[in-house]
């Protein structure tokens, strides 16, 4: 086994683009930067805390069940892909129209119970964001 030691990776032709062989057949390639998750968090609307996170600076509690996340380093556009999961017993989470998403925030997400009533997501909400950083 060979081990390459480095603290940072950078593309040569384009700093922000490194191709990597990733297919099961050892032929197909994908892009490292495009494939990396750019932000994630495990957060809790019970105390509005970010229990753990990467590239998320804060959780803003807008109202019962409704919140948005602010990124430390923003995306290059509003068109990032954010997905989330929370709760139990059939509860669900969705985008809300309260605060629109921008390059620097997820936009409002709202947690609801099986009766379709907004509830604070607790003890945890999982969110991941993919897209192009600024």
């Amino acid at each position: 086994m060979s081990t390459l030691r480095t603290n940072a990776l950078e593309g040569v032709d384009a700093k922000n683009s490194i191709t990597i062989v990733a297919g099961a057949g050892n032929i197909t390639t994908t892009n490292v930067q495009e494939g990396l998750c750019k932000a994630w968090t495990v957060c809790d609307m019970g105390d509005n805390a970010l229990d753990d996170s990467s590239n998320v600076s804060s959780l803003t509690d807008e109202s019962t069940g409704r919140f948005y996340l602010t990124f430390t380093n923003s995306f290059s556009s509003v068109s990032h892909a954010d997905v989330a999961m929370f709760g139990s017993n059939g509860a669900h989470i969705a985008y809300s129209g309260n605060t629109d998403k921008t390059s620097s925030i997820t936009g409002s997400l709202i947690c609801s119970n099986t009766s379709n009533s907004a509830v604070d997501g607790s003890p945890f909400i999982n969110v991941t964001s993919h897209g192009d950083l600024a």
């Binding site: 191709t19 990597i20 062989v21 099961a24 057949g25 390639t29 994908t30």
Partner: protein, 137 residues
């Protein structure tokens, strides 16, 4: 600080496998396995489910109300990939409530997404995001 500059990364023992030391500085994880292989943000109310931004998506199909197909540029190795999605609206009061989504594994080349209200009836939404992990072909 050491910075490695390269255009391509390839494993030496196995081309598609590179180990990376984890954040705790002891265990390792696999770089290729950890990469998201496809992501998409699209408008489910637009003609042909217009995508706003994507990675590894060759096209979108609007199959029916609340039913879409995401086709991959580079196919997955099989249909057993992991896809998750979230949906909702931008501009309608409380539109995010009363909404769920399901991600189907149509084939190694595509994935179906269905968005519904809780009746449950298939419903188009303006904001739909999906991400996919798994093995490329």
């Amino acid at each position: 600080m050491a910075t490695l500059k390269t255009n391509t990364l390839t494993g030496t023992s196995t081309a598609g496998s590179i180990a990376v030391t984890g954040e705790g500085n002891s265990t390792t994880t696999n770089l290729q396995q950890g990469l998201c292989k496809c992501w998409v943000n699209f408008n489910g109310t637009a003609t042909d489910a217009a995508s706003r931004d994507t990675f590894n998506v060759s096209g979108m199909t609007d199959s029916a109300t609340g039913n879409y197909v995401v086709s991959f540029s580079n196919n997955m190795g099989n249909a057993n990939f992991s896809g998750v999605a979230v949906q909702g609206n931008n501009d309608a009061t409380n539109a995010g409530v009363n909404a769920t989504s399901a991600v189907g594994h149509t084939a190694s080349s595509a994935s179906g997404i269905e968005t519904s209200n809780l009746d449950p009836a298939s419903t188009d939404f303006q904001q739909i995001s999906a991400v996919y992990h798994g093995d490329l072909a």
